[in-house]
Amino acid sequence: MDDPVANLIAKCAAQDRAAFRTLYRDSSAKLMGVLLRILKERAEAEDALQELYTRVWLRAGRYDPAKGRGMTWLIAIARNLAIDRLRARPVASSDDGLDTVPDSTPRAETRLIAMGEARRMSDCFATLEPDRAEAVRGAYLTGLSYIELAARHAVPLNTMRTWLRRSLLKLKECLDQ
């Protein structure tokens, strides 16, 4: 299996600092994109990027290539870091920040559909009702919470939770086929 990012993470686990620099060079633009998309504020995204690579270096030894690709592992750490920060923010600033980046959801998703690697994902999303598929995508890509999703779809919180849980299990059934 050819996974250059995984190889670099393994070298970081062995305290190879040159590999760490290469990893930053090769992955920081993508991870900055993840942080900025979820956190919306550039200064906080840059702050989070420093914390992210610190975590990557310290946790590199825990990466198991058998469980997934290197970039998937890095993006999972980036999303968790960004979502933790988002959820720890005071409620008022979560949706109307001052210096926010416009959300590029539709454009990104149109492109997503065109990409071969994501084809099965989009085929499976197509088995969900459109508003539920949109809720799952919105949460994954922009860090929307249950509370925000419920408001956006104008349904009670518990209804949103039931919808989403059912949709996730249905999605799994399709993806695992």
């Binding site: 920081s28 702050d47 990027l49 420093q50 690579y53 979502i83 933790d84 799994k172």
Partner: protein, 222 residues
């Protein structure tokens, strides 16, 4: 899709998916993170969902990242990446330009500013400095004082951790209203200190279970 209640396995699997999606609130997320640490089966479910959602990662546009690598390396590898006093002067400059510091990271350790009997080891602060703790060495103890912000709300507590490179976090105690004094040697340069939000009484597992809200590396320019 039926309206039958989820089986216990389905409920766990849905919980793992919710955690990976990130839709939960802070308390639910903290509970899921705690479970992740102690339940390898749940951790495996989370890992499977991370892979399942991999196809959505194309939806994140790459954005040119600022050149933060020198700052990251200076923090991770303090001795080799700071040539002589230039690094110390840079640290001092950052301390003086408070705005730049607040915008960059919640880390400072410039012991040159404080009396020698009570060196400042680290400042744990949010980027906007709304919440800030100072860690000072006093004799054979560490004194941790909140210099901005408020203690955690009722039912929660801020817990302080120290993490040696490559090791698991060790609790130094709970940060309530007053300063915390704990008998502990000054952590060496490059060790990480962190504050997490835990249920009242502190982490039940002995490791951080709630979100880590503040981190700072110990630096020593003393």
């Amino acid at each position: 899709m039926t309206d039958a209640p989820l089986t216990p396995f389905e409920a766990d699997d849905a919980l793992a998916a919710e955690y990976v999606l990130g839709v939960q609130d802070l308390a639910e997320r903290s509970a899921a993170e705690a479970r992740l640490r102690r339940d390898p089966i749940f951790a495996a479910l989370v890992s499977e969902w991370e892979t399942r959602f991999e196809g959505l990662n194309h939806g994140f546009d790459a954005v040119p990242a600022p050149t933060l690598l020198p700052a990251i390396e200076a923090r991770l590898f303090p001795k080799t990446s700071r040539p002589g006093s230039a690094g110390a002067r840079f640290g001092l400059l950052r301390w003086l330009t408070g705005a730049a510091l607040a915008a960059s990271l919640a880390i400072v350790a410039v012991a040159t500013f404080v009396p020698p009997q009570s060196p400042l080891l680290a400042v744990l602060a949010t980027p906007d400095a709304d919440l800030s703790y100072e860690v000072r060495q006093t004799g054979d103890a560490l004194q941790i004082t909140r210099v901005a912000g408020t203690a955690a709300p009722t039912g929660e507590v801020h817990q302080l951790w120290v993490i040696a490179p490559g090791a698991s976090p060790v609790s130094l105690g709970l940060l309530a209203e007053g300063p915390l004094v704990v008998t502990y040697p000054a952590p060496p340069q490059g060790w990480l200190m962190a504050v997490s939000v835990e249920p009242a009484g502190g982490s039940p597992s002995g490791l951080p279970t709630g979100p880590v809200i503040l981190t700072a590396f110990v630096a020593s320019d003393a």
